[in-house]
Each structure stands twice: as structure tokens, then as C-alpha cells.
Symmetry: C2
Subunit: 100 residues, 2 copies
């Protein structure tokens, strides 16, 4: 699965958002997202297989951690478009300047 498909799912974005401020166990992620436990595990597996999170066993829990580098691919794809909307913003600014 591509990172694009991985983050397309709202549940998985919620999981990632919950991981921004550090690694968490599955139970904590269930609580944070409101997802059922099996559902959480399934989405975490997808994220793990995509390489966006990694998992380390910590006693009877599993700590999931972000591997944000994997999202670089999204950022790189976005780059040409970013250039475009920057230029439209600039055009808008020019327009507003002319109007004032």
C-alpha cells in the first residue's frame, strides 16, 4: 500500500495524529481515537506494513511509534503543487494590492 492510500483513511490519520507527541500502546490509541481494539490493530498493521509506524514489544503491551520519514513521499509529490498555490496566493496578493 502506498502512503497515499494509507493516510487516505480517516481512522488511520487519527491514529497518526495520536502518535505525533510520542509512542503509545494500542490501548491508549483505542482510547484516543474511539476505534474498537481489533479495528485499531488492523489499521496499525496496515500502517506498520507501509512503514509509517514501527512497533516494539514492551512487556505485554506493544508501543507504536511514528516513522514520519515515510511521509516524505507525500511531501515530495506535493512539491510542484505547492509551487502552484504559492503563485496563486501571490497573484491574489497582487490583485488586492492593486485594489487598495
Amino acid at each position: 500500500m502506498t502512503p497515499f492510500e494509507a493516510v487516505a483513511e480517516p481512522a488511520r490519520r487519527a491514529l497518526l495524529d495520536a502518535l505525533v507527541d510520542g509512542p503509545k500502546a494500542v490501548g491508549a490509541l483505542c482510547a484516543a481515537t474511539g476505534l474498537s481494539q481489533p479495528n485499531t490493530s488492523r489499521h496499525l498493521r496496515i500502517l506498520r506494513e507501509t512503514g509509517i509506524v514501527s512497533c516494539t514489544a514492551e512487556g505485554q503491551r506493544r508501543l507504536y511509534e511514528l516513522r514520519a520519514e515515510r511521509l516524505l513521499e507525500l511531501d515530495r509529490w506535493l512539491a510542484p503543487y505547492r509551487a502552484l498555490w504559492r503563485s496563486s496566493l501571490q497573484a491574489l496578493e497582487r490583485h488586492l494590492d492593486e485594489g487598495s
Copy 2:
């Protein structure tokens, strides 16, 4: 449909990539992507309904044009993760510096 889901589909990313260097008619987009015409129309409709492209009738053709601003939402979501991978890159650099 969210912009996330919209760009998750490879065919739609191909269409967007073909539109980066300016508006194109449907036929040109078919040729550029190798998608069938109905398929192209369907994906273009999805992109249009999501607001990522706009369409203007030009005689018997329809010119599709990028509305890159709509992808700002992706960029904004990505921001916190960008901060993370920047710091991991910095950590890697520090590590390499120590090693040398």
C-alpha cells in the same frame, strides 16, 4: 470526498500530474495517462467535486485546470510530521558527525 481520498488513487494522481503544466482537454488527459475515456471522465468528476480541478467549456471540449489551493489541506495536515522528520534528519546528521 476528502482531498486525501482523491489523491490516494494513482489514476487521479496521474491526471493531476498531467495538469501541472497547464489546463488540458479530456482527450489530451486520456492520451497522457492511458486511461479510457469514461474512466478519465469519472475520475475528473471526482476531482472536480472535490474542488481540486475546475472545468470550463471550450467549444466541444472541456478544459480542465488545476486548483492547487485545495491541496493546502494535505499540506497543513502534513506539517507536524514534517517537523518530525526534519528532527530525525537532524538527529541522523548529528550521529554522522559524531561518527566522523
